[in-house]
Symmetry: none
């Protein structure tokens, strides 16, 4: 399914992905039918299968886009910053904002992680994120700003910690993403820095 799409086609595809994301997040992937998606958009069923090979492929596309999107957000946030600790801070803040802006995508991702056939896509995204984090940690350790620890563990830990905090406080409790990011950062940094320094 690698059709070349006209601009109008691109937009249709966008609509389908966006609407599906909202429904998947609110109602669950399985409980949301293709019929529901096309009806919600006021189009016929053929449209769906013109743009996607299957419902499964649609979800995969959503996931792929999500990973690209969040990565882009992070890269942009740390562009030109040298201090690895600062990069971590900025990356976390960017993630928090992205999560706040893409509540539904986040929820869909959570689901995808629970079903075997979608896990590879999830892992791919997460591995990239961990890789980024490891680089920062490694840099920090080399420069002696970060305690010498297993960057693999810690990378995962930071990711898990932030993901969960964001899910809980931003989505469930509607808190300000910057504030949540600040707390997460403070928590992360005071746990990994060589010398305790004042929380941000």
């Amino acid at each position: 399914m690698n059709r070349k799409l006209t601009p109008r086609g691109e937009e249709r595809r966008r609509q389908l992905m966006d609407y599906a994301t909202v429904r998947f997040a609110g109602n669950g992937y399985h409980p949301t039918s293709v019929a529901e998606i096309v009806t919600g958009l006021g189009v016929g069923k053929g449209v769906f299968y013109w743009y996607f090979e299957s419902k499964e492929e649609l979800l995969l596309e959503i996931l792929k886009e999500a990973m690209n999107s969040i990565r882009r957000a992070q890269q942009q946030a740390i562009r030109g910053v040298d201090d690895p600790v600062r990069r971590i801070e900025l990356g976390i803040a960017a993630s928090a904002r992205w999560t706040a802006d893409h509540r539904e995508v986040h929820q869909v991702t959570q689901f995808a992680a629970t079903e075997e056939r979608f896990r590879p896509a999830i892992r791919r995204g997460r591995d990239i994120a961990v890789e980024d984090m490891r680089r920062h940690l490694h840099d920090g350790i080399e420069r002696g700003i970060i305690r010498d620890m297993d960057v693999d563990y810690i990378g995962h830990a930071i990711l898990g910690l932030t993901t969960d905090l964001f899910g809980t406080f931003i989505h469930e409790r509607g808190m300000d993403p910057d504030e949540v990011a600040a707390v997460a950062t403070s928590f992360v940094l005071d746990g990994i820095l060589v010398d305790a320094r004042e929380p941000a």
Copy 2:
């Protein structure tokens, strides 16, 4: 559906819950049919509905039991221990071991968190866990061993962090739960203690 069950009945119910848990974890809740469950157990379809009102209720029961089980494990682990930091350490270790021993239940829980109708059950369990953690943190703060921070945030953070670490390292990578618990603990403690002290 609050039938009084004979011992034989109790056992059947157990079998159904255990087997369903395994299938839900491996194959997903939705993709696993009731037919598959009863066939796997070599019983008639009616049996399922003798013990559970619906497939949904079954999952809810699995979740309820899981929350009780893990809580019991934690309580037992910290029984008689006074030092709140030690209680946190022991609680985390107990969780790690429980997670290792109940891989499938853990996975099912992850899924349940992604579908609205199951979330209340999940929240209930998590709130209790956070509550326990808050108590320990609060005690620690009062005694001056733990930095004075928002116990609500931190409680959640610790839970999210450990949950994710366990999922990733114990389940996905097959690592030793005690080891993972140790790292998690070290990470948590060095982040929240007034003075860095040697990890237990």
Copy 3:
């Protein structure tokens, strides 16, 4: 299924039939399950099949009893009365009272008439009633009190008319059975025209 029953057994059977009648009337025959009946009576499922061969037989028994019961009521009401018109009047009044006292049985009978396998039982009962009515009409005609008409037609007509009036006014509108019987009788006996005129 012609067990000899102990007095206690008789009572059980009674309970089952009465309760089933109520449920069948309120909820419909098909929508009411055997499980519901025994649960409502707080007994096990075996009890049901001890007294009845099947759900179908139960309904048939209910019908048989109903026909006997209403016939008995009518016979008793006209005992010793000679005037055929008066017998018709009294029979109608007795039916009205019986219908009022056995609302549920009446409703169950209505249903039974709609399903082929129960129709024979219904027809049996109705034929007896028509036969009684015909006898009265015939007597009346012979004595010159009743116009000479096809007693078969008229017998049916009177039965249909009263059955429907009773269903509508006694059950649906909760009116007094004696009053409804009076109107029905008046209608039957006098027709509706001011002066008799040639039938169209």
Copy 4:
């Protein structure tokens, strides 16, 4: 379920309703499965649910159509006729013919009256018919052609009487509808007594 249907769709819907009516009448509503209906028509199961939300809705649609159809037949029969007695006669005759031509619909209606959830639809139709009848009776009374009686009672009585007579003699005994209508009319108009006498 208010799909706009193409002509082809309209036809399918017709087929489904007609065939279902036949099966419901012959076999009963509950004993007739959706599978049986679609198989009998040689189409896939999904077709049924494309046109009807449920089996229940289908029956409701059948009832609604029946009421419209019979009313239309009556209206047409009495169009332009002024004499209320004549209108009653013609209405009865039209009903008789309609009943003869729609044996199955009539039987389905009988069933529907026995199950609570369908009764409202039945009542709606019957109330309209009674209303029509009352108007005629009222006119007749005002003009002094009909005895002064409770038009509500009598309206119901005439309806019940004719419905039952038609069911019995037209359907069960296969008699000519015009003949049956004539007898019913005569009965309604003249009563059964030789000479009018004071009502009991």
